[in-house]
Subunit: 191 residues, 2 copies
Amino acid sequence: MSTTQPEAPARRKDPDRRERIARAAIDVVADRGVEKLTHRSVAAAAGVPLGSTTYYFSTLDDLLASALRQAADDDVEHLREWADELESGRDFAGALTDLVLYYLGPARDKTTVEHQLYIAALHRPALREVSQEWDTALAELFGTYTDSETGRALSALFCGWLLQGIVRGSVPSRDEIEMSFRRLVQPGTKT
Amino acid sequence: MSTTQPEAPARRKDPDRRERIARAAIDVVADRGVEKLTHRSVAAAAGVPLGSTTYYFSTLDDLLASALRQAADDDVEHLREWADELESGRDFAGALTDLVLYYLGPARDKTTVEHQLYIAALHRPALREVSQEWDTALAELFGTYTDSETGRALSALFCGWLLQGIVRGSVPSRDEIEMSFRRLVQPGTKT
DNA sequence: ACCTGACATGTACATCTGTACATCATCGGG
DNA sequence: CCCGATGATGTACAGATGTACATGTCAGGT
């Protein structure tokens, strides 16, 4: 955003520190699971002393919430890019299939983390809001290409493929994913 | 408990004990989440001393694995009953919708637990096998009413509705769930 | 009647955890 | 040139946790 300005003296040292810690938290969740997310493990992963993590995130829930928010923001941004690149003429079911394969392939770690945080939110009211916004955004985005009802159905199917894909070792075949989206999209296609 | 019945002595040990502890573990996960699953919390929930839990399940992973297995078995049995009650003439999409609404309504707790265990398996190789068997069984069951490809798609959509349903407060409407299943089923209906 | 062995439990301990807080370092202003 | 303020850190501590293990307790064989 802004480099160190005299009027904005920035922090003493490193303004990225907070974000770096949040990202380290995401890495820890990806590598070892939510249950291993501790101040100490995050500190080690971020290469900062223990005191730093407790300084920036006084409580563990703060840290978790920031990690979830960070992951959600990154993800929404990625979805936006995907939507922008989607030419209006392009086959929507095919594009959705690409998206699934991306999340189960190159971005598998990210997907894993997101689902863990998603489930972790079940017993943490503070996180539920973020999770809900997240999949509401997904349903609405998909809905703009069809209709809102179809959008919700598509997002459910989308989540389903991801969930099954991350626990199975193997990724489902491209054809069967595409077929399923095509069947859902077909009746309601608008523009 | 204390008095020994001649006709049902059941030894001094009672074989229910182990299963009761496993079920208590499931309750703990339902009420407080996987991260709160400890020998002590389970012991308290089952009304047995701490020693009992470590006696029957020497390690925590044993306990988790047994809980997952227990939940999976119960669930598969329920699915079997559902399948048996499904008259061959009955509308399949409608029956699937009922099933989703059951899992999000009366059996919401169960669904929550299952998803938590499912995600917990991500970082526990010992549990992955159970999880995989689980959703393979689901896909195959659904496949017997359509075809195997459609079965996998249906199970993905099914999981998706459940996942979204447990994190949102509100349950999706009956009509939109049914519509989505109908679209997926239609092209491949066999018998 | 006694003994044996498996069932069952209470307790102890090393480890890890979240968090508070006293301390240090550095920068901006006087 | 010095000084306070605030960013940043090291350490300490109370509590919780997994697990081992010594100890009870009782059913059945002899």
